[in-house]
């Protein structure tokens, strides 16, 4: 059997490098390992630096989630310094987070995910030719408009933060900007443009108001059948094609989900504390356990990291991130029975390994837990139950479902700004521990900061991919993507596009290379890049 190497490159440091190794036996994946192959050392660099260094360094951790890192970095300092954050500043931070995520949705869907639907594996699908017309990279009619329009929402970010990506306009005590009415009206016009040129006509095929009537999976399927505009919108078309080609059949994962919650309410988090955050966010935090169908709140104190299978010399115990020391091993020899990744294995002290991402957010949004005023939406939880659990297809639906809600949240921010009220209250710098969190487009993100003697003693970042791509933990349990890959049916072992679908459905932060091996002989069957 020839080794097929579809995509390997020396380029691409922005998102980092992830390798996935799978063993295939009898037409299905029987074992999997995810290993991050790039060490960047941001935690090491931040040690001993100015307390605010995270505001400059961490947005640059990632080219597409800079606002999310900035949000986490700013709130972490706010909790450490005990600042007061004015209402306007909370709204301006939220708006930055929201428009970054809105940007990411079409960019991810068209640029990274939907191009796989043009794979030759699906050439016999009745949807195939139309999929190629819409989703072919660079030339597909939806690809082109979707990628191009994805640059619009972040124009709003630039109005408030100066530029996207890599602004540092969120600072402890508020924001740097003091926008004018024109900034608000221009932002509103950009939102409208986005809605009337892509979101409604291309993506939904209906008004936002009609889409918002969907409350259950049955509602959604009825919506598709109701009108050809719905069925033939990119959303309707994608959903029908995905069912036809079986994207709903695999990619289950660990069955337990986590979100930090996000978008602190402008009137409820002006005196930010770590403990007060759960009761202050519009989108609530939580862990959803699908085996018991229960929701509970999430708290940073439950987080544990284990590095026994990672290239760090930090012992074998599960530790809280405040107790991490980030000591990279000099020799990063790859050994799948020992250490094989720069990522740590993250877990919840009671629930173990958890999946992060839009699906996790939406499953938690369906819970009855939390405050009565917090956002609640049962659509994706209902679809999850009707479909019998997680799969590739519902991960996409959860992601794209959020765009309408976030659009409304952006409108809320623009309506609520009181332009002549303060945007910043100068804080007192002091030592202490802080924690800031948000939800990046691709899932739960948070930063821990420990300030001592006026400088950073310890800075720890936990990205969504840290949850998802982590290697096996101290008990030998697989990470969420490793687990989701097991059982994946492989149609053509020399071109296991299905593995790519599963890995991509997590929208990992890392450029990802998949290695497929024969389980019996160990022979390499294929190797290709996903996202």
């Amino acid at each position: 059997m020839t080794i097929k190497t579809l995509d390997i490159s020396p380029v691409g440091r922005v998102e980092g490098d992830l390798d996935v190794r799978v063993e295939i036996d009898d037409g299905q994946v029987v074992n999997a390992w995810t290993h991050a192959e790039l060490f960047r050392g941001f935690e090491v660099i931040l040690r001993g630096k100015d307390p605010q260094a995270g505001l400059i360094v961490t947005p640059r951790v990632c080219g597409i989630c800079g606002a999310s890192h900035l949000t986490s970095a700013a709130w972490a300092l706010d909790t450490a310094w005990g600042t007061e954050v004015p209402r306007n500043a909370i709204l301006a931070r939220n708006l930055g987070q929201i428009v970054e995520t809105i940007q990411s949705i079409p960019r991810y869907f068209y640029g990274l995910f939907a191009i796989d639907l043009t794979n030759k594996k699906y050439q016999h699908s009745p949807f195939y030719e139309e999929a190629c017309r819409r989703f072919a990279a660079f030339t597909g009619k939806s690809y082109e408009i979707g990628i191009t329009i994805s640059s619009k929402p972040v124009e709003i970010y630039a109005l408030f933060g100066g530029q996207w990506p890599h602004s540092s306009y969120m600072v402890p005590g508020g924001v740097m900007c003091a926008p004018t009415l024109t900034d608000v009206t221009r932002a509103w016009s950009i939102l409208e443009y986005f809605r009337t040129n892509w979101l409604e006509p291309v993506w939904l095929g209906c008004s936002l108001e009609r889409y918002e009537q969907i409350k259950t999976y049955d509602d959604f399927m009825a919506w598709i059948d109701e009108n050809p505009n719905h069925a033939n919108s990119d959303l309707g078309f994608y959903w029908r094609m995905g069912l036809e080609i079986g994207l709903d059949k695999y990619g289950v994962g660990v069955g337990k989900f986590v979100t930090w919650g996000y978008l602190p309410h402008e009137d409820r988090y002006q005196k930010p504390t770590i403990e007060g955050r759960n009761a202050a966010t519009i989108m609530k935090s939580g862990v959803y356990n699908s085996f018991t169908d229960t929701h509970v709140l999430m708290d940073q104190s439950f987080t544990r990291e284990n590095t026994i299978r990672s290239w760090y010399d930090e012992g074998t115990a599960d530790v809280h991130p405040f107790d991490r020391t980030t000591k990279p091993s000099q020799k990063n020899t790859k050994d799948f029975d020992k250490a094989y990744s720069w990522s740590s294995a993250v877990s919840h002290e009671q629930f173990g390994r958890l999946e992060a991402g839009p699906l996790a957010r939406q499953l938690v949004a369906g819970g009855e837990h939390g405050e009565s005023w917090q956002h609640q939406d049962g659509f994706i939880l209902d679809a999850f139950k009707q479909m019998g659990g997680a799969n590739i297809h519902i991960r996409q639906l959860a992601r794209v479902h959020e765009i309408v809600k976030l659009y409304r949240q952006a409108e809320h921010c623009l309506r609520e700004f009181k332009l002549n009220d303060p945007w910043y209250i100068k804080p007192q710098e002091k030592d202490g521990r802080g924690w800031g969190a948000t939800e990046a487009s691709r899932g739960a993100l948070c930063h821990w900061v420990d300030i001592e003697g006026g400088k950073i003693k310890n800075y720890q970042i936990m990205a969504p991919s840290t949850w998802n791509i982590g290697p096996r933990d101290g008990e030998g349990c697989k990470g969420p993507i490793e687990e989701a890959l097991v059982g994946t049916p492989i149609f053509d072992p020399t071109d296991p596009v299905e593995v790519g679908h599963v890995a991509r459905s997590f929208d990992s932060c890392l450029v990802c290379t998949v290695h497929a091996h024969d389980a019996k002989t160990g022979e390499e069957l294929a190797r290709f890049r996903t996202a």
Binding site: L6, S9, F39, K49, R60, F138, S168, Y424
Partner: protein, 304 residues
């Protein structure tokens, strides 16, 4: 990702209209089904001509010069880079990591990072100070964190349309057309700069960010305020001090305690003065400016 925000041309137009065939890109590459590793070896052997090698990210040498902390397909990234740079007509370094090492190369530089032809301001870097690509040009540096998408696309279009010989590079290999003028050039706060009217703290509607908040606009070379970001604004216009991210020293002062968003001063005078201004003249200028400051320069100016 910044690159995807480009307009005139957009990323899609760049490919469709200017005949640039992207052989591979970490996020946009799509040729699933073709043998890209072989393709790279074909580039290295000369079977496939490689017109432009665009590199982002620092060159990681850790641990101990082996580059094993950044592997791709069981091979250190830097080995791929070494091979490909020899066969490319043009080599373009995009972003601070690829140009000078950037944040990864900041003290203590745990990944032993460097740029393609520089480490901070020192010429050399990974490819060495004498490196020239097959076209005869050294590495073209497009710095910035991030680089402005327009800087990238215009250079690519210049190469694609045969106009690259018009380019002039400064001593740091930056195209002067973008990096001769200052970040301050075109800033809406220039009138406040002239009268030394300061923005004392964030969230204000007046003043210049240079005097108290550490803005590096007068000492940084870029066209940010001439071409704007995301078509609409710039950091300094929106109230954020310029961090000097197109210069090799970024992040300045290695972000030591007390240096972030605070102008470094000696006896109340900025430690670093606008490029080309000496201390004596600056003191004179300050006196004159403060004497002649009009009342409006100290009132709210960018009002609702």
């Amino acid at each position: 990702m910044s690159f995807l925000n480009a307009e005139e041309p957009t990323a899609c137009d760049l490919i469709a209209d200017f005949g640039i065939n992207i052989l591979w890109h970490p996020s946009l590459g799509l040729e699933l089904g073709t043998n890209l590793q072989n393709m790279l070896w074909d580039c290295i052997s000369g079977k496939i001509p490689l017109d432009i090698l665009v590199f982002e990210g620092s060159v990681i040498n850790a641990p101990n010069g082996t580059g094993e902390w950044n592997r791709f397909a069981d091979r250190p990234m830097k080995d791929w880079l070494n091979d490909l740079s020899k066969v490319a007509n043009f080599v373009v370094a995009v972003g601070d990591c690829a140009t000078w090492g950037g944040i990864p190369a900041m003290s203590p530089n745990p990944t032993e990072s460097e740029g393609l032809q520089f480490l901070k301001r020192t010429k050399g870097g990974f490819l060495g100070k004498d490196f020239h690509s097959l076209s005869g040009l050294p590495v073209i540096n497009i710095p910035g964190c991030p680089a402005h998408p327009d800087w990238i696309t215009q250079i690519l279009v210049a190469i694609a349309t045969g106009r690259i010989s018009d380019i002039s590079l400064d001593e740091l290999h930056r195209p002067e057309t973008f990096f001769k003028s200052f970040t301050q050039t075109g800033c809406t706060r220039n009138v406040h700069f002239a009268y030394k009217a300061s923005t004392a703290e964030f969230g204000q509607r007046k003043g210049c960010l240079f005097y108290d908040l550490g803005c590096r606009g007068p000492m940084t070379h870029s066209s940010c305020n001439r071409i704007l970001w995301n078509r609409v604004s710039s950091k300094t216009r929106a109230g954020m001090p310029c961090l000097g991210c197109t210069e090799p020293e970024f992040p300045f002062y290695d972000l030591k305690p007390g240096t972030v968003f605070k102008t470094q001063t000696v006896m109340g005078v900025p430690k670093e003065l606008p490029t080309g201004v000496n201390k004596k003249d600056y003191a004179l200028l300050t006196m004159v400016a403060k004497d002649s400051i009009p009342a409006w320069a100290e009132e709210d100016f960018f009002t609702v």
